[in-house]
Amino acid sequence: MRRALPFAVMLVVAVAAYYAFPYNLAFLTRIVFTMILVLSLDLLLGVTGIDTLGQAALYGSGAYAAGLFAIHVWNDPLAGLAVGALAGATVAFVSGLFLLRAHGLTLLMLTIAVAEVLKELANKLDWITGGTDGLGGIQMGPVLGLWDFDFIGQTGYIYAVSVLFVVAAVLSVVTGSPFGLSLRGIKDSPARMRAIGTPVGRRKLAAYVLAGAVAGIAGALAAQSTALVSLSVYDFQLSAEAVLMLVLGGTGRLWGALIGTAVFMTVHEVAASVNPFNWLFVIGFLVLGVVYAAPRGLIGLPEELRQILRRLK
C-alpha cells in the first residue's frame, strides 16, 4: 500500500498537468523523458554510490540507436525503446569495464571522457548520424499499432508518461530487492560488502548496465518525441544538469529524481522566458540553498522542518 501511494500521486499529477497545460504538452513530455534520465542517474549516484558526470554517454547512445533504428529498420515506438535500452546497456557495459575501478575525481573525468569521445565519433560519422546537422527525418509509427503521434503531442505525452510509470515501477522493485539492498550496501561500505561475500565489482557493473538501459530508454523516448537527435545529446551540460536535478530533489529514493526534474525544468523554463540569464541566477541560488540548507534535497525538506519544529517545542 505504501509503495502504491507515490504512483497514485504521480498519476494524479500527470493527469492534472495534461488538462492544465494542453498547449505545453511538448514541454511536459520533455520533463517526462528527462525524469527517466534522472531516475537512471539516481540508481548510480543515489543507490550504488557511483559518481558520474557522463550520463549523456548512455542517454545519447540510446537516442541515436533509436533514431537510426526508426529510420532504417522499423518505426515501431516500443521496438525503438528496446533498441535504445540495448544501446545504452551496451555502452554502459563496455565503458563500465574500464571506468568502475576508478573513483573520485578520476571516475568523474573518465565518465566525462566517454561522453566526449562518443560525441566526437557521432560528429565524425556524419554519413550515419548527420553530424552537426543532427539526425532528422524520424517518423514514428503508431504506438502498439493503435495510436498515431499527433501534432499537439497528446499521444506523445501519454506514451511518455506510461513509459515513465513502467520504468519507475521496475526501478522501485529493483531497489527494494536483495540486489538493490546489496547496491545500497556497496554505497555505504564496499569493503564490508566484499567481506560478507558480495561480488562488489560485478554488482557495480550490473547497476551501471541497468542504469545504461534506463538512460537509453530516456534517450530513445527523446528521439521519438522530438523526432530529432542532435550532437547535444552527448553534451557535458546535459550530464551536469541531470546531476543538479537529482541532488536538488534528493538522492537515493527515486521520487526525489522526479521532483527535482520537475522543479528544475519548470524554474528553467519560467526564468529563461523572462530573461535568458535570469535562470542562471535563480538556479545558482537554488542549488546553493539546497547544498547549505537542505543537504538531503527537496524530498528531505519535510523531515528537516519537522526536526526544526521539534527543537522549538
Binding site: 574500464f98 575525481l105 571522457a113 557535458f236 541532488v247
Partner: protein, 286 residues
C-alpha cells in the same frame, strides 16, 4: 620541420596557459579535497576585469591586468570563507553541486555586468607582432606566455621548497590533521593557497585570452579542460600539473594541426588511456 616547430611553440604556450589556470585548482583540490568546478571562473573574472579596465576605464594593459589580479584575490578570500569552507567536509556530490552553483552565479553576474558577448583584451604593442629568431619567426605573445609560465613554475618551486609557508603548505597537503596538531594554522594556509590559485588562474585567463577567448560562459566551456589537466597530473602535484598541461597542450595542438577533422577526440582519448592506466594521475600519490 616548420610544422614540428609550430606545433611545439603553439603547444607549449597553450600548455603554459593551461598550467597557470589549473595549478591552483590542483593544489587546492589536493589540499582541501574539494572538487571545485568554479575555478575557471576566476580566470574569466580576471579577463573580464581586465577588459573592463582597458575599455571602460581606459587603463593600459599592464596596470589593468595588475588591478584585475588584486580584485580577483580580494574576491576570492571572502568567497573561500563564506562559500567554500562549509563544503570542505561534504561528499563529492554536494561539492560538485555547490561549485556548479557558484559557476552559474559567476556566469550570470558577468553576463549581467558586461553582457554575454566576447570580451576581447587588446594586447599592448610590445606583445603584438613577431620576433625573428634567425631560422623562423615567433609571435611575441607566445614568448611572453612561455616566459610567464616558466616564472610561475619557478616561483612556485621557490615558494614550496624554500619558504616557511611552503613547508607548512606541504605538511598540510600530506596530512592536514597532523599539520594542525603541530600548530600549523591550516585554515589560514587553505585561504592563502586558494587566493594564490585564483590569482594564477586570473593571470592565465588574461594572458591566454588569445587562445581561450573570454566571455561569460568561459568557466562552463573550459571546465572539463582544466579538470582534465588536474586529474591527469595528479591531485596536489605542481610538477604533475606542469607535465600534464604541457603534454596535453602539445597533444591537442598537434592533433589540431595534423588531424583537424578529429577535433578533441585525441585529447579525451589520451586522458581516458592515462587515467585508465594510472587512476591517481601521472604524479598523484594516492
Amino acid at each position: 620541420m616548420n610544422l614540428v616547430l609550430s606545433i611545439i611553440t603553439d603547444g607549449v604556450s597553450f600548455g603554459m596557459i593551461l598550467f597557470m589556470i589549473s595549478v591552483g585548482l590542483s593544489v587546492t583540490m589536493g589540499l582541501m579535497r574539494v572538487v571545485n568546478l568554479a575555478h575557471g571562473g576566476f580566470a574569466m573574472l580576471g579577463g573580464a576585469f581586465t577588459h573592463w579596465a582597458m575599455v571602460r576605464a581606459g587603463l593600459p594593459f599592464l596596470p589593468a591586468a595588475a588591478l584585475s589580479l588584486v580584485v580577483v584575490v580580494l574576491l576570492s578570500l571572502p568567497m573561500e570563507r563564506v562559500l567554500y569552507r562549509p563544503i570542505y567536509k561534504m561528499g563529492e556530490l554536494p561539492q560538485v553541486l555547490a561549485t556548479i552553483g557558484i559557476t552559474f552565479l559567476m556566469i550570470a553576474s558577468v553576463a549581467y555586468w558586461q553582457g554575454s558577448t566576447l570580451l576581447p583584451i587588446k594586447l599592448p604593442a610590445a606583445m603584438q607582432g613577431s620576433v625573428d629568431l634567425g631560422f623562423r619567426t615567433l609571435p611575441t605573445h607566445r614568448i611572453y606566455v612561455m616566459v610567464a609560465g616558466m616564472l610561475v613554475i619557478l616561483g612556485l618551486f621557490w615558494l614550496t621548497e624554500r619558504t616557511r609557508f611552503g613547508i607548512r603548505l606541504r605538511a598540510a597537503v600530506d596530512h592536514p590533521g597532523t599539520a594542525a596538531c603541530l600548530g600549523i594554522d591550516t585554515s589560514r594556509i587553505f585561504a592563502v593557497t586558494f587566493a594564490l590559485g585564483a590569482a594564477l588562474a586570473a593571470l592565465g585567463g588574461i594572458l591566454g585570452a588569445e587562445l581561450l577567448p573570454i566571455d561569460a560562459y568561459y568557466p562552463l566551456r573550459y571546465m572539463v579542460l582544466f579538470l582534465t589537466v588536474v586529474a591527469v597530473g595528479g591531485l596536489g602535484s605542481i610538477t604533475g600539473s606542469f607535465v600534464a598541461a604541457l603534454a596535453l597542450g602539445i597533444l591537442d595542438t598537434a592533433a589540431r594541426y595534423l588531424f583537424p577533422d578529429f577535433g578533441t577526440i585525441f585529447f579525451y582519448g589520451a586522458m581516458f588511456v592515462i587515467l585508465g592506466l594510472r587512476p591517481q594521475g601521472l604524479m598523484g600519490r594516492v
